[in-house]
């Protein structure tokens, strides 16, 4: 009753705008069903199929046009986790795009559908030889489920 009109207006504006700037801390367990792209055969790169991997994506995720956030992707079998920047690429839609620069993951947080591009192979130079590095170069797809624990 004693709240001034100005305060109520400010509160209303804040409550309306807050979801656009907020983010959520979440963890996703992801299973990559299949992976296709290019792999090295001696000196040549050729088209091929590779088994998918399990992975965990954890961090803050922007909500429908919020400010960019940070997350970490740990792919099973790869020693170092990937630090990623996450954005909502299309305003008003929920899917997020997280990229480390060499790996890009797009995730629909409602359905769990995801795609992952690994773009390290071929482009980056081998640090020892200076030749194209011999990592695979692929795109994969699968499903993520929201994990029990929120990421910090």
């Amino acid at each position: 009753m004693s709240t001034s009109i100005g305060c109520r207006c400010a509160l209303a504006v804040f409550l309306t705008a807050a979801p656009l700037f907020a983010s959520a801390a979440e963890t996703y367990q992801c299973v990559e069903n299949d992976r296709t792209g290019f792999l090295w055969n001696g000196q040549n790169m050729e088209r091929g199929r590779l088994p998918g991997a399990n992975m965990v994506l954890a961090g803050e995720f922007p909500l429908e046009g919020g400010t960019p956030t940070e997350a970490v992707l740990q792919i099973e079998g790869i020693r170092s986790p990937l630090a990623m920047g996450c954005t909502v690429p299309f305003f008003g839609q929920k899917p997020v795009l997280c990229t480390s620069g060499s790996h890009t993951l797009v995730l629909d947080r409602d359905s769990g559908r995801f795609t992952l591009a690994r773009q390290f192979g071929w482009v980056f130079e081998d640090l020892h030889t200076g030749a194209p590095n011999e990592d695979t170069f692929t795109v994969g797809w699968g499903m993520c489920t929201r994990g029990p624990g929120a990421a910090k």
Partner: protein, 161 residues
Amino acid sequence: MMRAEPIRSLTVTTPVPVRCAVAVLLAAVVTTATAQEQWEIYVCTESEEAGYRLQGDTLARNRYEGATFTFSLSATDPVGTLEEHGTGGMLYMDCLIPYEDKAPTTISCTEGAHTFVMDLESGRFAFSRLFGYVFPDPITGGPNGDAVTVGVGLCKPSQGI
């Protein structure tokens, strides 16, 4: 005491068409010089492209034709554009150097669900298109039918603007 002739009297005598021509010439020179200074332009050919197309609720492997496009990278700001030849489709991309200490000449540019990674020295590039499958179809709410692909190829610096 005599007063010096005002300088503007000289310009008044210059014919209007000449002044217009000079102005247009100067504008053209400045514009060209600015463009040459600020953008590095590459012509890129995607030699191979692999990926998936939607089949029911799942994805089936498929083979795709690579594209040819022009990639322009700003020399002053972390942005680039990628224009596909033939379709005229243009992507306005945000760019970064993901491993500045170990790979200072390799850039990564993103727009929407597209990521373009390129080594500026060798011209090798990888281009992923990840819109398909993940984004909901506006009518059904299920996976959309766009392709999910990754392509590989080489870029060459453009000979001229």
